[in-house]
Subunit: 326 residues, 2 copies
């Protein structure tokens, strides 16, 4: 691909030191992935573009960590152990070396934190915005990947953490929350938008007990509909049961539209999973031991579609990021 | 990543039908790669940007095939059997549906031709140019990947096919060849630039006989230097021995500068390999049976650096895409 000598210098200086033995020090043109016997690879890919998925002026190290973590979140939801990733980086003209240094530093720190190895990649020039594409690899024991398609009628529906913080945090940054929240609440919501926390600690509990799982990246409403459709069933969810942070609750109390944002806005990177009824107690106990809060929000039903209900029993529908009562 | 409903429609309509069983029909958020027992995965990644690595107005199907093939070329050089790939696509605003349809069609045809499965990916919006990032997976028997670092003193240096066509083809397209060649020659050179032919047929011969290998993507001069440096040795090459097509020879005859372009311009996607002297006859025979022409261009030496010699024995050095006699 005719890279410039500048590209080679950048890779050698900043990225080669991050490569594990499987990446052959980024000195070969390919990496080797040797599977653990009896295991298979879970592979996921996510692309992020400056101005679309993050702000170009965000700190470089945090951009790198976010790009890695959105992929780690997918691996977590599949009950996979993170192993390595490839990184394709399209750099706009005149990206300063100090930016690349900070990007590599943030990436290296987050890799170490999550046990990930950089095994390969490509760095190219673009006249457009910064574009980051990561393909990440995790391992599962053969046949044990948690799929979207395994939910069964009667299973309980769970989510980790709290829902909506990130989408509301983005609104804070864009000054489009109708009512200002307290500064501490805004800081919390923004921090959740800027850097997700992949729920990797839940891996063992998911592997042992989940019938289906995915990460919530496109909004709880749409992602739950997708997962249940992939499983050939539907479900019922109580709005009151959905876990929300004090900051998100405060935002919703001030602006009813914030609720639709919270449930449809996306970028949560929490895990949505279904668990057979007889395994719920064990799943909740295993989650507590893992230190990941899980909340039961509904139940899987045979009938297609998701039935969302407010506390008073009225049915709620969501459309184009807003919702209406029936 | 909050994709638009348009993204979901595009994936469902054009990309999901391309996904093999390992891609779970692109209906899950992760794919499964189950290794053949006793094998390991070879992983490679390449990114291409419109206006940098291809022309934005090139036919969409050919852009897709080129993006796939530059990765296949890496797998071929490592003696890996192609298995699957992930595709991250950043689409500029108002990319017409017919463009995406043609891209998917070209991709599907080239996947089928090379036995590749689309196992996952991500489609996002960008305000910038089209950006394609592919991570490709191939399999090798454990311990049999052909690395850059295995060349030994005394090994013969081989290249496949002909060198320089693609770089000269790009010059034809940009009207920067000093002298016009015959129309048939120009068409040939341009065709070599537009769509590389990965040398996958050479896989068995490389696995059996090569001590080191890589694909020639950044120019023969630079890539040979990289491979021999990774092997901790150097080499000697005779310029007269380098295989060139009649079209490239005609261009060089008209413009001496074209020789430097041919040898340093890159995008050849031929394979550069070293073979121990006792295995050369068998390697040449296996290559002939595979239908891939291979040419011995030099020898590996203990002393670092590559010694390039013209037919009359004068030493040649290359610098910034030009060369000089000493």
């Amino acid at each position: 691909m005719m890279p410039t000598s500048r590209e080679h210098d950048l890779i050698a200086r900043y990225f080669a030191p991050l490569a594990g033995p499987e990446g052959l020090g980024l000195l070969d043109d390919a990496a080797l992935l040797t599977p653990t016997p009896g295991h298979e690879w879970v592979v996921t890919a996510d692309a992020l573009v400056a101005g679309v998925h993050f702000f170009a002026h965000d700190p470089a190290g945090r951009i790198a960590a976010k790009a890695l973590r959105v992929n780690l979140s997918d691996l977590a939801a599949k009950a996979a152990r993170p192993r390595g990733f490839t990184l394709c980086l399209a750099l706009p003209p005149a990206t300063p070396a100090r930016w690349i240094k900070a990007f590599a530093k943030g990436l290296g720190e987050d890799m170490a934190r999550h046990g990930m190895a950089l095994i390969g990649g490509d760095t190219v020039a673009t006249p457009g915005p910064l574009c980051i594409a990561i393909t990440a690899f995790g391992e599962v024991a053969r046949g044990r990947m948690v799929k979207r398609s395994g939910a069964k009628t009667g299973d309980a529906i769970y989510v980790t953490g709290t829902i909506g913080d990130s989408a509301l945090g983005l609104k804070c940054l864009m000054n489009t929350l109708a009512q200002p929240s307290a500064a501490s609440h805004r800081r919390y919501l923004v921090s959740r938008y800027l850097l997700p926390e992949p729920r990797l600690a839940l891996r063992d509990a998911l592997e042992a007990y989940a019938s289906a799982g995915m990460d919530v990246s496109d909004g709880l409403v749409g992602d739950l509909a997708k997962m249940l459709a992939a499983s050939g069933c539907g479900g019922a969810v109580k709005l009151d049961a959905i876990p929300m942070s004090p900051a998100a609750r405060a935002a919703v109390a001030l602006d009813a539209g914030a609720l639709a944002t919270a449930l449809t806005g996306g970028d949560d990177y929490e895990i949505l999973a279904t668990v057979p009824p007889e395994a719920c107690a064990a799943f909740e106990q295993a989650s507590a031991i893992a230190g990941v809060s899980v909340t039961r929000i509904g139940v899987v039903r045979a009938r297609a579609g998701v039935d969302w209900r407010a506390g008073d029993g009225t049915r709620i529908t969501f459309r184009h990021g807003a919702y209406s009562h029936f």
